[in-house]
Structures are given as C-alpha cells and as structure tokens.
C-alpha cells in the first residue's frame, strides 16, 4: 500500500500527476484511495519524498499472477505512421508456446496514440487479448510515461510474465518497470521455456563465452528482454481476433522529464539492413581489403541479399559498423548465411548461428566457423566467390 508521511507539504503536485485519480487532498495533505495501482508515477513528483511504496519482502503469492504478456514496440514507418516492430511478432510467437504450456492467455500490450488498427495483426500472431492504452501523450516512446503505464497495467492485471524486445526501447523500459515492481528481469534472452511452472530464461554472458539459465522463482511477473531475430516467427493466422481491454491512463505532461529535441535518422541505414535480410553474404579478415568485399557485394546482389561483416573486418575498416554481425553488432537469422574468410570467433558465432542455412568458405579447414556451418567449403573465397557470382548470372540468362 502506498503511504504518505507527515512530511507532506500539501503542494498538490502528486494529485495532478496520478493517472488514476487515486490521490486527493484532505485539508492540507494528500491522501490515497483504493484506485491506487502502485504505478509510482506520483513518487517522482514529490519534492519532499513524502510518498513511499514499501516493497513486499519475501515471496509473493505467485498463483495470483496469470497471463503471458508481450510489450509491443512501435516503429516510425516511412509514411510517418507507426507500425509494429517485427520483434513483436517474434515475441508473440514465442509467448504462444509458453502460454499454451501454462494454460494461460497470451496478451499483447499496445501503448500509443491511434494504434487500435494494429490489433488484428497482433491477434493473427496469436494474441488472445490486447491491452490497449491510447493517449496523445503516448504518441512516442518516453521512459517516464511508458514506465508509468506499464507499472500501472502490471499492478492491476498481474501477468505471470512480461516479454520485452531487447532493443533501445525495451532495454530502456524493462529495467525501470522491474525495479519499481521489485521483480526479476533477465536481459537478452536467446531461449525461453517452462521449468516447474517458472519461466526458464537462457542467455549468453561473458561475450557469448558462456550460457546461463536464469529463474525468477519467488517474484512476479517474470520479465525478460529478447533480442530480435532469435525467436522464430509463426505464420500469421488470418482472421484471428483478440479480446480488447482498453485501459484509460491519463498522463500529465509534468511527469515527462526527458524531452526530445530532434531526431536524426541515418540515411544509409535501411538500404541494406542486415537484420531483416533473407540472405546475408558476410566477410571477415580473410577478405583482406575492400576489393575482397566488392566480390561479396556482387554475390549479395545476385542473391538479393545484404552484406555482413565480422568484427575483425569492421575493425580493418572494410565495412561500416551497421554491417557488423555478432555479439557487439547485430544478431541475424536469415534463411541463408554465407560466411567468407571468417574464422568464427565466438562473438561472431552467437550473432549468426540461428540462421537456417550456413555456408562457410575458408582456407583453414580448422576454422571454428565450420563448426556451425551446414556446408563447409575449404578454399579461397577470393577465387570461389567471383566464379559463383558468374555462374549464378549465367543461370539467370539461360
């Protein structure tokens, strides 16, 4: 229960920011009523730290928490409208299996402004229910407003788990919510399953050199962030419908403390976005120079794919950073990944090993890249790649 101490000076700021009208003035001090969801929005407004939400120490009643939730991140589309970031579909697909095993509902959390048109799409990827919070203050992502909304929703509806994308937005939001709600959060998961009714979260650590399985046995909801392109997307089911739960959470603009002045979208990005490409031709140190990469670009063109690079190649300046595949770059899982002159350092492997088909071309038969390749070609990529491009061109002509 939220408490207001006698430090209260009666400034009324908290009453104004409460999204649920749970705070009111009684004489010269603020009081709280039963509509309080413990969302915490008021805490930051109090200049004398009179408001407190004591933490529940020890085990919570985990049986009171039901439902697998997915936080849906929205992206700016080219036409200026919002669209669902594809990771949302991946998380719904992953959440579907978990929900089925637990016999719980799969729910999407959709926060924004004029976004209800996306609900059917979420349903087609398996959402049984969509929590919809619409408000002009929620047009763009903001840490303060979105965390207040998430805390309020979770406190009120008590899901057993919440999955977030491991993106700039997800990694900004999830730790604030988990901290406020005193629950566990596991970052950058690459695997999710159920163990004794709990969410078993698998993640790499130490730059991919080890894997760890993490549980959150005594707190709810269990929270995790998951990297894009790690979970397999289910095919959408046309005509599927979801139950819509509209929640009205008014946001007072005074709770928004960090303000965006300007957005600078990189022009080059998006031309050859490697995280969405179906085919990636990737090069490493073995490609030696920019001419080597030119060979890869020609092959990628022929296969309608993008060009990736290992960290070593990026460090050598052979490709700009957005092309980097691996732990410190982008995780990819295309249908076809062709690795040329890449030895296969662990940090690279964790970023591409979930690709459907991996073909590796390397002179060194002991290169680690062969350990993850379905097909290993021992040879010089400088000799093989141009010939392959040529052969593909000839096939097209024929």
């Amino acid at each position: 229960m939220l408490t207001i101490s006698d430090e209260c000076i009666g400034c009324t700021k908290c009453v104004k920011v409460c999204p649920f009208g749970a705070l009111f003035m009684e004489g010269k001090v603020a009081k709280v009523n039963e509509s309080c969801t413990l969302c915490g929005a008021c805490l930051q407004s109090c200049s004398v730290n009179a408001i407190d939400i004591p933490r529940t120490i020890g085990t919570v009643d985990i049986s009171a928490y039901k439902g697998v939730w997915v936080f849906i991140e929205l992206l700016d589309a080219k036409d200026g409208k919002k669209q669902i970031r594809p990771i949302g579909h991946e998380l719904l697909s992953a959440g579907k299996g978990l929900a089925a095993e637990l016999k719980e509902e799969l729910c999407a959390v959709l926060i924004g402004h004029h976004v209800s048109g996306m609900i059917d799409k979420l349903a087609s990827y398996g959402a049984d229910k969509v929590y919809l919070v619409e408000n002009e203050m929620l047009q763009d992502y903001n840490t303060d407003s979105f965390s207040a909304v998430m805390c309020a929703l979770v406190s009120q509806y008590k899901p057993s788990m919440v999955l977030y994308p491991s993106t700039y937005v997800g990694r900004d939001l999830a730790p604030r919510v988990a901290t406020e709600l005193f629950t566990g959060l596991t970052a950058d998961c690459t695997g999710l399953s159920i163990k004794n009714g709990h969410l078993l979260q698998t993640r790499p650590a130490f730059g991919g050199n080890i894997m760890a399985n993490i549980l959150c046995p005594e707190k709810r909801p269990q929270m995790a962030t998951i990297r894009p392109n790690v979970m397999k997307k289910n095919p959408p089911v046309a005509g599927a419908k979801a139950v819509i739960v509209t929640v009205n959470i008014p946001i007072d603009k005074s709770i928004i403390r960090v303000k965006t002045v300007k957005k600078l979208i990189d022009e080059s990005h998006g031309i050859e976005k490697i995280d969405e490409a179906k085919v990636i031709v990737s090069g490493g140190r073995g490609m030696k120079d920019r001419n080597g990469f030119k060979l890869l670009e020609e092959l990628a063109d022929e296969l309608n794919g993008a060009v990736g690079a290992s960290r070593a190649a990026i460090d050598m300046g052979l490709k700009p950073k957005p092309h980097q595949v691996g732990q410190s770059g982008t995780t990819v899982s295309p249908t076809l990944y062709i690795a040329c002159g890449i030895s296969g350092a662990i940090q690279h492997l964790v970023g591409m090993e979930s690709s459907d088909i991996v073909i590796a071309i390397n002179k060194n038969p002991d290169a680690s890249i062969f350990n993850v390749a379905k097909y290993g070609i021992i040879g010089d990529a400088h000799a093989i790649v141009p010939r392959l491009t040529e052969a593909l061109k000839n096939r097209k002509k024929a």
Binding site: L43, Q44, R55, I57, G58, R85, T143, D144, Y168, V169, R171, D172, A174, P175, R176, A178, T179, F182, T183, G184, L185, A187, P204, F206, G208, N209, I210, M211, A212, N213, I214, L215, V258, K259, T260, V261, K263, L264, D266, G270, L303, I314, L336, Q347, L349, I357, P365, F370, N371, V372, A373, K374, G376, I377, I378, G379, I384, R387, A391, R395
Partner: protein
Amino acid sequence: MEIISLIKQVPDSTRVKVDPVTGTLIRAGVPSILNPYDHFALEQAIKLKKEHNAKLTVLSMGPPQAEEVVRLALSLGADRGILLSDRAFAGSDTWATSYTLAQAIRKIGKFDLILAGMMAIDGDTAQTGPGVAQQLRLPQITFCNELKVEGKKLIAKKLIEGGHEIVECIMPVLCTMIMPHEYHPSYPSFMSIYKAQVEKPAELWSLKNIDAEIKLLGLEGSPTRVDKIYPPVSKEKGTMYNGSPSEMVEILIQILKEEEVI
C-alpha cells in the same frame, strides 16, 4: 556541479571459459579491467568536471580487489572514490545491485548528474543504470554518446533505432553511455597514480556506511537465480568439401538448388 560516475571491475570477458566438467568459470590468468563502457563514461565525467569545475565522485560495488578500478578512476581525475564492499552484497543481481548503489548515492547526498556505462561486459545486461535511476526516481537517458551541460540543463545525443536523437532534461538525471567503436581508453601516468595514492585514498564502505534494508541486499534481495551455467553447445559439424574453385562453385550451385534458394 556534482557528478557521480558508476564503475565496475570486470574480467576481460573475451577470455573467460567454462570448465566443461565442473561447469564453473575458469578465471585463472584472466586479468581484471575497468568495464570499458564505464571507462568511457568516466572519461566523459572527467571532461565535464573540467569544463564546469565540477566535483566528481566515483562509486563502485564489488569485492575488495575492486579498489583497483576506484584507484584508477582517482588517478584519471576523480575527486573522491568509494568502493562498496561487504559480504552482505554478494550474489546481487541487477535489482539488488541497483538498490545498493542507490542507497550509497543517497548517502553521498547531493548530485546533479550520474553517469554509467551502458552495460558491463561480463553480464551484458544494461539494467543496472536504469535500475539505479528508478530506485532514485530520477529521469534517465540511456545509450548516450555525447553529453553537454548548459546551466541546469543536460543535453544528450543518444542512440535510437535507425539513428540518433537529441534530448534534454533538467538535472539531476542519470545517463548511460555507449562507447565509440574505435575507443582507446586513456590511462593515467605514473605520477597521477602516485599522487592519487597519496592525496586521494579510496574510501571503503561496508553495509554499515549505508542505510539499507538487509533483506533487499545480496542474494536475498535478488529476484533472479542462476539455475546453471554451461559452455555454449557447438552444433554438429556439417558436410565439408574440398577441391578446385570451379569444383566448389559447382557444389555450391547444387547446394543452393537443394536448399531452394535458387
């Protein structure tokens, strides 16, 4: 202006392996370093300190040997260095770590800006910075690569999907920093190290130095549990081919056909 820089000592991660038999980390011969993201954030803090004549305090949490990174920070130019070290903090996950750091920051008292690396390279979570901000009810700006202070206002350039964003916030605020791709951390001269040792001893804080609820610390205060750790499983080796380039091209065409890529 008062700045607090949060730093962590980490093993040089790229060289850590798991013993396949015992499932424990092999740390022999692996040196400890200052987490590079924190190192970069610290350098930004030092820059701001110089520009605005600020006071810079570094705060770290870890075993006693983590004093080394606090001393490194002092040698690089921090004014005050605190290491939080107590057996009661052992086994902390990001929640308990955030809580402990936040309680220490409350004890430090006044501050305008808290800087931290976006993440530590041993855990790769990026959760502790936002966790501290939430514990302290502070606004946060994550994934920053440039900072500027104008009066009471902090202006930051931060990463967003597909580009950057310029944001601003009235201080106090907590920022987490990414680091440039070609980042060469700076290291102190012998004299700076010596002077820091003589003039600015690191303060060692235990549980007694902060006001903390003991049940929110360490393992007990950590909602998450490590079920097990293990080496990454390597996939079964695929089919290998060897031969002249033209033979290899023929085989590749065959593979692409079989896999229905072409």
